[in-house]
């Protein structure tokens, strides 16, 4: 199977689809927030919030210390710290990540999030689902689906100012989970 080449237009359309679906879902709710999973989910959460009108709080979760492989190798130092500058208790939180692969990152992110409080509801949004899930978890909102070979992974780069600069590239996978 070949990796389907996705251009920036397709990515931008996926962003539009995601933001529109999220807006419909969140509009009737009073206490909502988008939470980007460090690091790939952070720019995506910001872009989505902007496309949804810009008045939705955006936070960050760093799930590193809840990961099941955390003591197997050192973590990169460029990981953003968890930053949730709003009330978690009772909120509807949408976890946001650029790529949904095995589901392990989401599991860890949920644990990190619940260390800060008790949300009423948590949903998951991802720009790309690469069909490699290994846990009984799946995203509620998906921009686009790609089918990858086992062991393959993708890297997404989003531009805040220029939709034509969005890119997605095929990467060789390490043994670590995505």
């Amino acid at each position: 199977m070949h990796f389907p080449q996705v251009d920036s237009e397709t990515l931008d359309a996926a962003l539009d689809k995601l933001s529109s679906e999220l807006k419909s879902f969140l509009q009737p709710k009073a206490h909502v927030a988008l939470v980007g999973i460090a690091n790939g989910g952070i720019p995506l959460a910001r872009l989505l919030a902007e496309r949804m009108g810009g008045n939705i709080p955006v936070g960050v979760v760093n799930s590193s210390f809840h990961r099941d492989d955390v003591t197997l190798k050192l973590l990169p130092t460029n990981f953003a710290l968890t930053d949730l500058d709003f009330e978690i208790d009772g909120a509807t939180i949408v976890l946001v990540d650029d790529v949904f692969a095995t589901g392990r990152t989401v599991r860890a992110a949920l644990n990190e999030l619940f260390d800060y409080g008790r949300p009423e509801e948590v949903r998951m949004a991802t720009l790309v689902d690469i069909g490699q899930k290994k846990l009984p978890l799946q995203p509620d909102f998906v921009g686009l689906y790609l089918e990858l070979e086992p062991g393959q992974k993708v890297k997404v780069c989003l531009s805040a100012d220029d939709a034509s600069a969005h890119t997605i590239e095929l990467e060789a996978s390490s043994k670590s989970f995505a």
Binding site: F65, T71, L72, L74, P76, T77, T82, Y116, G117
Partner: protein
């Protein structure tokens, strides 16, 4: 700014052997762990299933309790062994005690011992990581890591900053570790105190020595006070505590010689009224209690790094040869 993560050893026995990048790696992790102190659920599952043994063959409050809390915050199981309650008093050697601890399936030993080199000795002997919590007058690496972390929190980069270490340098493992750490981080270190406690030999570590307190404190960003160990120096290294106080105790007037935003540090325990005036120890310039709090997160970082490195080394040994 992103810096590479690096940690080369399963043990942490000295600052001298660490690189600047490794010190900054500890600070980076400490900053991450510090975020967890503010929330209602303070525990992380990171070291769940690991067993940490604190082997404290010398009295300690801050370091021992900070290591205990650090291990517990990372969900490790922790047991503290003190000399009086160990088989060491029955004549068992340190080596045998340590090997028994390893055989009891411990995953890491934190050791404080009155003999310089004891942590390094155990690190070479054992397969499990060993962290030095103070070995004689040699080194106290986690104290230097928490001190430099505290300085960076207050002052930002330490590059070009002037740090004065004042008091008993000669017998101080804290001074030695801090000098190594500060020099690696680009700070200028000035040592000050009675000449009997500040030997000229320290110049070889790249320090300035100034016996004039006013000149030493001028334009300093940090003054780090060290405890006067009454049990040793009072009778042999200076005439009296009163004279030490008259010449080297930090009071409000002397603190005014520092830079306006300078910070005052002390690794504790503090002899109030001897090294520092009580009011000054409680002033906004003092970061003594911040040092204690940061002692938890920097020790969480070192426990995490040493255990992760031990896993990496074990996995590398187990991997089939290509």
């Amino acid at each position: 700014m992103s810096t590479p993560t690096t940690w080369r050893y399963k043990d942490l026995t000295s600052i001298e052997r660490l690189t600047r990048e490794e010190i900054e790696t500890v600070h980076h992790y400490a900053a991450q762990f510090k975020k967890s102190l503010d929330r209602s659920q303070k525990k992380l599952p990171t070291l769940r299933g690991k067993t940490v043994i604190n082997l404290f063959i010398e009295p300690s409050t801050r370091t021992r309790v900070a290591f205990e809390i650090a291990a517990k915050r990372l969900s490790a199981d922790v047991t503290t062994i003190e000399e009086a309650a160990s088989s060491l008093v029955k004549g068992e050697s340190l080596r045998d005690t340590a090997e028994v601890i390893q055989a009891l399936n411990a995953d890491l030993i934190v050791i404080r011992h009155r003999s310089a080199g004891s942590a390094d000795y155990l690190g070479k002997l054992l397969d499990i990581p060993v962290i030095n919590a103070g070995d004689g007058a040699h080194e106290h690496p986690t104290q230097a890591l928490l001190d430099t972390f505290t300085m960076k929190e207050r002052l930002g980069s330490l590059e070009g900053r002037k740090v004065v270490i004042l008091g008993d340098i000669l017998f101080s493992r804290v001074a030695r570790s801090n000098i190594w750490a500060l020099k690696k981080l680009g700070a200028h270190v000035t040592l000050c105190g009675p000449a009997t406690l500040v030997p000229e030999g320290f110049r070889s570590m790249g320090c300035e020595i100034n016996y004039n307190l006013r000149a030493a404190l001028a334009d300093a960003d940090v003054v780090m006070l060290l405890r006067i160990q009454h049990e040793r120096q009072a009778s042999t290294h200076f005439p009296s505590v009163g004279e030490y106080k008259a010449l080297y105790s930090l009071n409000e007037e002397r603190a005014s010689w520092l830079k306006p935003n300078a910070i005052i540090m002390h690794p504790g325990p503090v002899n109030r009224g001897v090294e520092i005036d009580s009011a000054l120890a409680d002033s906004p310039q003092s970061v003594i209690l911040e040092q204690v709090t940061n002692g938890i997160v920097t020790r969480m970082a070192t426990l995490f790094l040493c255990l992760t490195k031990a896993n990496e080394l074990r996995n590398a040994q187990a991997a089939p040869q290509q």
